[in-house]
Amino acid sequence: MLDLRVLQSDLINYLVHKKQKVDGYIADGGSIDKQTRLNIYSNAYTLRLRGVIDIDHEILSYYLGDELFDQLVQGYISAYPSNHTSLRDFCSNVPNYLKDNPPFNEYPVIEELARFEQTLLFAFDASDSTTANMLDLNKLSIEDWPDIKIRFHPSMQLFENHYNCVEIWQALKQKRTPPEVQKCDHSTWVIWRNAQRITEFRSLEISELESIQTFLKGGSLSDVCEQLQSHYPEDEISKVAVTYLSDWLNRNQVSIIITQKNSLTSQ
């Protein structure tokens, strides 16, 4: 079996790294020469991986334009040859490549745009899960509320950005001219898959972000209320916390409401 192993090793290195000499393996004959035969596989390799980057990073490819996108494809395929069984994972290092390599790393918004697209993809086919709703919340007695903890839906992701990459993404998605790149202080978006299995996203105020983070760390509603004291007057805190909670429930962002007595979900 050594022969087959060596042959496959040489051929894969030819396809991936374009260096190995392999024409000695290829039989003569037919209407085309050995190099044409090898080129068919070699071209197919590049075209296939280019197609995957194009599909997973459709908006990025519009933003870069043909020339820079070609440069990304050639550079990425060379730097990160696929070691994945599924093409689903092939683009996982595109943001890293953009962050580390010129000319892309001179424009950090490009890396952010790629990372945003990957976060959307993750939400698209993240695990299914039960979801909780307002009826579940209303089943609880009022004395249970301070202890409420929640587990968010597996599709829910937080996306941090320092540039207006989401606005650029939205404009390109709607086939409009994208806005000029602008640095923003720091903003965070929440991304999730709704009840119709459509991916949605919206920006978060700092107080809502901190509330989500508190729950993600295993905190309770009373912990969230305590944290909200730095943003709101005492008499508004309960109302704000309940508004957040009901918004998340109505948007399908919550899988389970957990109290000390039980866990509640609807479906």
Partner: protein, 277 residues
């Protein structure tokens, strides 16, 4: 010998998920790409379960690398088995090829040399996979653009021997036979007639791109006349075999593929009528 004849089907592609769920077109069965549904959840899984309620399903994979020399990918096989348990397909197929080596993946369906040493290697791996999946594997002949100096037998003898020794079934891709015959200068009829009927589980029909001196199995065109003719010969030789229209690029409206599927059914019916006349 009907080998669980399912009738005439279409390969289900993303563009048509909603159409198939909403309209329940008159196709006998659907083939899905296994890897497209090896995801945790979301729309792909939702659609798969929705179509499974109304149609027999066959799972067709592209990543097993049954002829590879890297160890079998147990994580992949575990996911394949889980999906198979979830969907209960009529059968599970992949390709008689390798896709990568040394941990690198070409994501292509690469041919192997046709010789006894390779047969022994592949048969052993098929038996391992069949043991893991708990069912016979169905393997497709691939289109190829090169052959190796290390081959000492014809592709059809290679396929027959593997099926005989491993117990796997063959998904005979009629278009692939045609494309390879043109690329290597052998007779497609010779290939077709050499394959032993007892191994055949399914037919694939697809289109290709003709570059004059060679052909590429692009699956982006309608099934061309030469492939329809070869299909009629296949029906004459093998009888009614589950037949599927496969399209992977330049995807037309579902109705176009449905029309091709009906054309396959007409050809099969006409051929069998002539045979029995």
């Amino acid at each position: 010998m009907n080998n669980n004849f399912l009738g005439f089907g279409v390969g289900l592609r993303t563009d048509h998920y909603q159409h198939v769920v909403d309209n329940r077109p008159d196709v006998d069965w659907l083939e899905v790409i296994s890897e497209n549904f090896m995801v945790a959840g979301g729309k792909p899984k939702y659609f798969l379960h929705a179509v499974r309620e109304n149609y027999p399903i066959v799972m067709h994979g592209v990543s097993m690398s049954i002829a590879g020399t890297d160890p079998l990918n147990m994580d992949y096989l575990k996911k394949l088995k889980m999906l198979s348990s979830e969907i209960q397909p009529e059968w599970v197929s992949d390709h008689l090829c390798w896709t990568g080596a040394e941990g690198l993946n070409s994501h292509d369906l690469l041919p192997v040399p046709y010789n006894n040493e390779v047969i022994t290697h592949i048969v052993d791996r098929i038996q391992q996979v069949q043991e893991i999946l708990g069912r016979a594997l169905v393997l497709e002949n691939v289109s190829s653009y090169l052959t190796y100096n290390q081959s000492d037998m014809e592709e059809w003898d290679f396929i027959n021997t593997i099926a005989e020794h491993s117990g796997c079934k063959i998904l005979l891709d009629i278009n692939n036979i045609y494309v390879s015959s043109r690329n290597h200068g052998f007779s497609a009829q010779t290939f077709l007639h050499a394959i032993k009927p007892e191994h055949i589980q399914q037919f694939h029909l697809a289109g290709h791109s003709d570059y004059g001196d060679y052909m590429i199995d692009t699956h982006d065109h309608d099934v061309p006349p030469a492939v329809w003719d070869l299909y009629a010969d296949a029906v004459k030789k093998f009888g009614l075999i589950s037949t599927l229209i496969e399209r992977d690029d330049n995807i037309p409206p579902f109705e176009d593929l449905h029309a091709e599927m009906k054309h396959a059914r007409d050809i099969a019916q006409r051929t069998l009528d002539l045979n029995s006349a």
